[in-house]
Amino acid sequence: MNMVDSAQPFKTLLGPESDSQRTQYPYVTGTSVVGVKYKDGILMASDMGASYGSTLRYKSVERMKPIGKHSLLGASGEISDFQEILHYLDELILYDNMWDDGNSLGPKEVHSYLTRVMYNRRNKFNPFWNSLVLGGVKNGQKYLGTVSMIGVHFEDSHVATGFGNHLARPILREEWNENMSYEDGVKLLEKCMRVLLYRDRSAVNKIQIAKITEEGVTISRPYALKTFWEFNAFKNPTVGAEGSW
């Protein structure tokens, strides 16, 4: 693409870093992913938008994918890097299946693998520009973890990437509890996604909610959230304050 070509001459002027293309900038990016543990497993939500800079270029991108039998991966950040990670994971799962030994990689193992991949790439100054959310259930054990592009990883009862950290996690800290039912979990996630829709400029109103339980993965059909714009002060903001906006 033209944009990449024009970047080449700049990179050669960078001195020692010019021989390898290491410094990166994300081009096509997805926004936040939010994940919570609930009674039967993990619920994860993300919207289907991918922005190209400040343009909302793609509006039907599935940013959550099942991995193997037991895991669900959601990603925000550079979409091409996400696709590359999926490719690596395909290979990982394939080799796992080829053992044909009755064991299969659970969410904890996949999370560990992703952490190693992300951290190693970061050490080579060539990161996968993603923040990942990995959730799953294996043998009744629920697992929800996250890995960032520099390799920071941890496990928690509710995680979010990007803007979700600032807008969704405060809500989750107040309102999450251990034994939420499926309906409660979906309502809570929808609440978070609605706030993100109002306040994150790269959010689109087309979300999917994914559920993973012992039985398997279900990713819902895309749907839109109801929003409310009828506050009187929004309809006529400058009444009584002429000249303000």
């Binding site: 807008l167 996690r169 405060p170 809500i171 800290r173 903001p237 000249g243």
Partner: protein
């Protein structure tokens, strides 16, 4: 009058004379002193009968908390209050200045101050200084035209909103507002929502903390609830007092309270000259 043989700095505004010298110092590794900021959560909302403002009480100097219980809700007029985020000196100075201008204006016109007057004075001052006066304000009040709530940004732009948050904890507080605000809130619901939003900022943002201040303004009446909620009490002060290791022989124990009880003998006249 001796002749001045050096350049007198231009009257008014900022003087950027020391910028070159500061740059040179920074290159040599000398860190500039960090500003005392109010890394903050401030909120405002309009309810049935008026406006409720809320703020946390932590003031920071870089990574250090320099004031655990500062006041971020500033008085502008009997019916107008203003929360301030950003550089503490800037918010304090600009609100004090506009407050005095409003008082003079009240003497001149003989009428109660209006919120848009404060708004225009603040925004023109901040615009004049092109963002160098780093004050981000939430201005609220009730005047003859009704309840008003505005946000003012450091560069001088303003917004008129039913609910607003500013400061480093603004996203955490806005998450609470966006999910729970509705029109026609009663006084108690409004105070509860403001407190929840500030607490969300206090517990989820590192730049905000300590206590919650609330200010309720209605037509003809205002209530400044200083330290309305104290969700971070000091719980580790030992009631037993200080105990020495067993080898120490205690000769004398004397307890002096840190806060002296001051007796007010006579309500003196303020500023009697």
């Amino acid at each position: 009058m001796s002749k001045l043989d050096f350049d007198v700095p231009a009257k008014g505004g900022f003087s950027f004379d020391l910028c070159k010298r500061n740059d040179m110092l920074m290159k040599k590794g000398v860190q500039p002193p960090s500003y005392r900021k109010t890394g903050t959560t401030i909120v405002g909302l309009i309810f049935q009968d008026g406006v409720i403002l809320g703020a946390d009480t932590r003031a920071t100097e870089g990574p250090i908390v320099c004031d655990k219980n500062c006041e971020k809700i500033h008085y502008m007029a009997p019916n107008i209050y203003c929360c301030g985020a950003g550089t503490a000196a800037d918010t304090e100075a600009v609100t004090d200045m506009v407050s005095s201008q409003l008082q003079l204006h009240r003497y001149h016109t003989g009428r109660e101050s209006r919120v848009i007057t404060a708004l225009t004075l603040l925004k023109s001052h901040l615009f004049n200084y092109q963002g160098y006066v780093q004050a981000a304000l939430v201005l609220g009040g009730v005047d003859v035209t009704g309840p008003h709530l505005h946000t003012i940004y450091p560069h001088g732009s303003t917004d008129t909103l039913p609910f607003a948050t500013m400061g480093s904890g603004s996203l955490a507080a806005m998450a609470v507002f966006e999910s729970k605000y509705h029109e026609g809130l009663t006084r108690d619901e409004g105070i509860k929502l403001v407190t929840e939003a500030i607490c969300s900022g206090i517990f989820n943002d590192l730049g905000s903390g300590s206590n919650v201040d609330v200010c309720v303004i209605t037509k003809g009446h205002k209530e400044y609830l200083r330290n309305h909620l104290l969700p971070n009490p000091r719980s580790y002060v030992s009631a037993k007092g200080f105990s020495f290791s067993k080898k120490t022989e205690v000769l004398l124990t004397k307890v002096t309270p840190l806060k002296e009880k001051v007796e007010i003998i006579q309500a003196g006249e303020a500023m009697e000259e």
